[in-house]
Symmetry: C2
Subunit: 289 residues, 2 copies
């Protein structure tokens, strides 16, 4: 199907990306830092109207935290397993011509999880053939999302507080002042991933302090090591030996998770997350009633 032109917006907490999509192709794009936290109370209708007017008043499809209870309008959650069709059926339209994609939740066997925004990329990656219909996908970040895809649908998922834990340890813990130096997929990072094999994160974190006290750690290496500990802990909890992980990331996060996945016994395939978003949001638009 060739979709008629529309505006797709990936509207997160701190950033916003808008695309004009016509026939499945991007014909205009912009990115700014007008995430939902920057919008003043009551300011969403004007912000949405302004963005829409700037792109010819086309129909508009919003995804991400704009659809949370802290955003413009709570678009709720559809329950996993969920595919493109379920997201399209769950669209919420606060004003004529503008719709918001719902998030996805899971609540089974006493374990709850939620996502909002990532579902478009995850389903888009499979829809665009960037990942197979049966696959494990990972979208790392402050709250890393790990999605199990079955028959092209988002069957189940787990969120890990990996990035937030790193930031919190660095800013507020006993070992924070030692977490200096650049983080990259270097020898110290790898050491941290390897050390995570014993599954004893609470002890490994104190060990960073002990190593400094005993002169067993070179200055400027602890940040990379702790990053390795955390990403290693995250990956080992989710990857079976030999499993392929489709990684929706680029730059540093792609390097770090690729290394951690490999050391944890898996194999990472990096997927273009922007292309995945465009593919996902276009297919949701195609299915919009």
């Amino acid at each position: 199907m060739v979709t008629s032109a529309f505006i797709a917006v990936d509207w997160g907490t701190t950033n916003r990306r808008a695309y004009v999509i016509e026939g499945g192709e991007i014909v205009a794009a912009e990115r700014d830092d007008k995430g939902i936290l920057s919008v003043p109370e009551g300011g969403f209708p004007a912000a949405v109207a302004d963005l829409r007017a700037r792109h010819g008043g086309l129909p508009m499809l919003l995804a991400g935290m704009v659809g949370s209870n802290r955003g413009w309008h709570d678009a709720g959650y559809v329950a996993a397993p969920a595919g493109i069709a379920e997201l399209a059926a769950g669209l919420v339209s606060p004003v004529e011509g503008v719709a918001i994609v719902p998030g996805v939740c899971r609540d089974r066997n006493g374990r709850q999880d939620v996502m909002r925004g990532e579902e478009v990329q995850l389903l888009g990656a499979v829809a665009a053939g960037l990942a197979p219909a049966e696959a494990l996908l990972c979208q790392p970040g402050t709250h890393a999302k790990w999605a199990v895809m079955r028959g092209g649908a988002l069957a189940d998922f787990t969120t890990a507080m990996t990035g937030e834990m790193f930031a919190m340890l660095k800013a507020h813990s006993l070992i924070g002042s030692e977490m200096t130096g650049e983080v990259d997929a270097d020898a110290e990072f790898r050491k941290g991933v390897e050390a995570s094999a014993d599954g004893d994160l609470l002890a490994a974190l104190f060990g960073v302090r002990a190593a400094s006290v005993l002169g067993a750690r070179a200055p400027g290496t602890a940040a990379a090591y702790v990053s390795g500990l955390l990403l290693g802990t995250d990956c080992r909890a989710r990857i079976k030996p030999g499993e392929t992980v489709y990684l929706l990331a680029d730059g540093l996060l792609a390097r770090l998770y690729s290394a951690a996945i490999s050391i944890a016994g898996g194999e990472a395939v990096v997927v273009d997350s922007h292309a995945a978003f465009i593919a996902g949001i276009t297919r949701i638009r195609d299915m919009t009633p």
Copy 2:
């Protein structure tokens, strides 16, 4: 041996306990909040002299953070395995008649750990017969210490950042604002300990947020649940099925760790940590050259 009278001081970061001990018995005791952080720069000689004069100018034996590089005088560390004799041989005497007990370190197979102050209680517990010569001891707190005793000596130990992690999550994380309610060894705490069985702490922590978003958690229950998650994670990393843990704690911490140890498959025996300190410091004094 009947020890001649001396002053024993357990001088920590925020609190200080002093005892006059004669013939192994406490004949005077005081407790205040003059931990090392409250002592002004250069103020230790006066603080020590003042305390000593108040108790008849007896010989004085100090243990705890007063012997760290942030305290009065760095008393260093003796390497595990270490017993009472090694601590006595490692005493550091900054002024005539006053000695500081060294800490204990371990640095083998790439894992480093340190303790300072706990060693007196741990070795004292065994010396006083409060715990057997071959045992697993736990002293919970901001940094929980788990000690493996062999032949009455401190053979090895592990420190877990358990208490600090709880405080940090409550004060600084996404789930902090939800961590309300009293913490005790109640049903929610037990649920947290049980949930820790899958060894996936980073996901379980985000799950607290998801449960709130989905209305699956009663308000005022998250603090106890997170405490259970953390203590469960700590205990499961250290206890073999059926193992007895000698717990140097009282009050809330004793209740929480006793419950967590039990759910994790062990059995807790609560030991009087003050009696253990007195026993340990008296025996170090007995061996002082």
